[in-house]
Amino acid sequence: MTVLSIENLAVTFSTDTGDVPAVRDVSLRVRPGETLALVGESGSGKSTVALAATGLLAQNARVSGRISVDGTEVVGADESALARLRGRTVSMVFQEPATALDPLSRVGAQIAEVVRNHRRVSRAEAARAAVELLRRVGVAEPERRASAFPFQLSGGQRQRVVIAMAIANSPGLLIADEPTTALDVTVQAEILDLLRASAADSGTGVLLVTHNMGVVADFADRVAVMLEGEVVETGPVEEVLLRPGHEYTRHLLAAVPRLTVAEPERAKYAEKPERAGSAKEPAGSAPVVELRDVSVRFGRGHRTVKALTDVSLTVRAGETVGLVGESASGKSTAARVALGLVRPDSGSVTLFGSDLARTRGRPRRSLLSGVGVVLQDPVASLDARMSVAECVAEPLRVHQRGMSAPQRRARVAEALELVRLSDGLAKRGPRELSGGQRQRVSLARALVLQPRLLVADEPTSALDVSVQRTVLEVIAELQGELGFACLFVSHDLAVVQEFAQRVVVLRAGAVEEEGPTMTTLLRPETEYTRRLIAAVPVPDPVLQRRRRSALAAEATT
């Protein structure tokens, strides 16, 4: 008995520049009540499989093979047959809750629409059903929320609405395509719980598409690993995650940053360890950058948003400080304040011993020449009109105008070598590079002036794990070599744990707690940090199951 059976699926996209094969010879099965995780890196074809299963692929896709959903053949079915299937037999939850809903329709109406697509009920009955569904997916005050527009809801609430639409007609198969990727970890944990509960209620089979091994460990019964359009390994979750058979799976799992967590049963009784012993404290060295009681407000009048409130943080020479927090916690704003891009409304910023607010003109520029910057978006970080060499040479042109062209070329080549990029890339345009290569070019640009401080704002969060691993290694290695200090902004606690000596946790624009990384993340002092850490799923299904039941037990007591 299967709710989804895929046999020898192949998908090819025809584009202006030729045919692009996306999926080759994929065969999968999902049984009722079972969750199959389809994992892989970007471009592996996992989302294409998910869309093919509902017949939602773009028009330029050519599909061959067989896909049967609860006994109905999907490949080659016409749109009206598919419409009868969708929302009733098979439903989908998508990655981006911000755009998944019609911005101009009330959410209750959008849920009611799915109900009325498949059931002969009156408008009023459908509206009541929508409210009931909102209640089931854990939306507070469902009567009131039903008449809200999507923009009035948070990302997590929107994703709940999408799930309500998906389970409206109790489908046999639920396909979730990266359902929590756009969400904060605490919200992710709630949404995963909700999906698990909704599926368990009705014995729904789930096809979960994700790149996150922690989510897989938390949720899946079985796993299929995809690489370049093919399934390379399938098996029970414990098998695949703990004893991977395929070379690629091993490589992938080795690249995943792992959060070292205290064993759940012991965490409660843990004592505060000695602070000094846990990490080297470079307290003696001078601060490279220091924010003191910084407050930042955006907007005016009653729409004012307090981005930062009395934030103080210090980065000392040679150390890496991890700045962590959920979205809207103010971590990027804090980094921008440190860079002088955002002027604080109150408080002071001291960079290399000078007050940034009081330094202007030439002295300010020479001060800033000691700073390197890497930002999140690999596409927007490099001007597409410049060659790689020009991008990397830009800081030299700003600060060392007297430098001759051959000297500059030599320095650029040197910087590219540092980040392990071949000199052959120098003449190419950023468009011709992969995401990881682009971030390394950004890094080369940041390091070409041999800065004393590197500010990295989520430098790897847009990258696949294996690429992230390489970029992080390069940064760590260079830091050892060149000795710059680093302010490392990230939402990923595991990355910060691996990478930073000290960590500052931000919450709603204020410092929640700070301390040496291992101490703070293993034995957090505040309830918020504890919850934050507890919400991160670890890529070990056995440990994760234990953490989850400990968490559930705690919730009931």
Binding site: T54, L56, E79, S80, A83, R84, L85, R86, G87, R88, S91, M92, F94, E96, T99, A100, L101, D102, P103, L104, S105, Q110, E113, V114, N117, H118, F149, F151, V162, M165, A166, A168, H302, R303
Partner: protein, 319 residues
């Protein structure tokens, strides 16, 4: 609350814009040959008369002071006196403006009514022959000078087919205008033609953009039929940017009305303006510019408010 604030903000912006328009008109007044005195007293005034007038009206004072005087007379509804028609400019405009508004609104409706479904239809059948044909026709309609198009319509429908008169309805009151609806057909059609072209294009682009949105995929995944998605979701979402464009299009509509009124001898503000230009009747010219600009600002404001009603999302600033 948000809406009230938004409206207040937009209203303030509109007032600022109107103030700037008065500055422009004030500058034009002073750019007239002989200055405002010549403009107001007329071409026959002597040098002494002008000097006396200048002193009396404070026109020998510094320009900023004069501007304040000018604003004060405007606030009293005084736009000066026409020296060819011997009547207060404000009264002349009062008579003509409603007729121009009627013509403009009718043209806008006659243009939008076919343009919106046409644009959606094109989007649905994009890159098929029918889409290409409509696009090409739209290009031609957009590229035809209004007066040339009006002339062709007159030649075909009046001279050859004799279906409609070549002259718009005459008369001072609106009821006289509405008494002869057949005579309104050609002027309205002439004014609407380029509008069909422009707005079917916008609607096509907006619909295409929305058809590619994620929410369409969500609706399909929920089992909604394509036609239902088109009318329930895509239509409304595509209409919002088109309404915003309507705001930008108001000045073009008034410009079109100027030509149409002249061509069909329709006794509105455009025709008044036209004849004032022929006789260098400056008070009428500048009065009309001021009133038509204020009307444009109000029209744009209305389009914004309508857009705001259709789309509840907060738009802090227009760009």
């Amino acid at each position: 609350m948000e809406t009230t604030l938004y409206l207040a903000r937009r209203l303030l912006q509109a007032l600022a814009v109107i103030l700037i328009v008065t500055v422009v008109v004030f500058c034009l007044l002073h750019a007239l040959p002989g200055g405002p005195a010549r403009g107001i007293l007329g071409p026959q005034a002597t040098a002494q008369q002008i000097a006396a007038f200048n002193h009396e009206q404070g026109l020998d004072r510094p320009l900023p002071v004069q501007y304040v005087y000018y604003l004060r007379t405007l606030l009293h509804g005084d736009l000066g006196t026409s020296y060819t028609l011997n009547d207060a400019v404000s009264r002349l405009i009062e008579q003509r403006l409603p007729k121009t508004l009627v013509l403009t609104v009718l043209s806008a409706l006659a243009g939008l009514a076919p343009a919106i479904p046409l644009g959606m239809w094109q989007a649905v059948r994009r890159n098929k022959p029918a889409d290409h044909v409509v696009t090409a026709l739209g290009f031609v309609a957009y590229s035809t000078p209004v007066y040339f198009l009006g002339l062709l319509l007159i030649l075909v429908f009046t001279q050859t087919l004799r279906w409609f008169p070549s002259q718009a309805p005459q008369g001072d009151t609106l009821s006289q205008v509405f008494a002869d609806p057949v005579a309104l057909v050609l002027p309205v059609l002439t004014g609407a033609a380029s509008m069909v072209a422009v707005f079917s294009r916008y609607m096509r682009a907006a619909t295409l953009e929305n058809l590619a949105e994620d929410y369409v995929r969500t609706a399909r995944a929920g089992g909604s039929r394509p036609a239902a998605i088109l009318w329930k979701h895509v239509f409304r979402n595509s209409l919002t940017p088109v309404i915003a464009m309507l705001g930008y299009y108001v000045p073009v509509l008034f410009g079109g009305a100027l030509v149409v009124e002249q061509l069909f001898n329709y006794p509105g503000m455009g025709l008044l303006f036209w004849s004032a230009a022929q006789s260098s009747d400056y008070p009428v010219l500048l009065g009309c510019v001021l009133v038509i600009s204020v009307a444009t600002v109000i029209g744009t404001l209305l389009a914004d408010v309508v857009q705001r009603i259709v789309d509840p999302r907060v738009k802090a600033e227009r760009t």
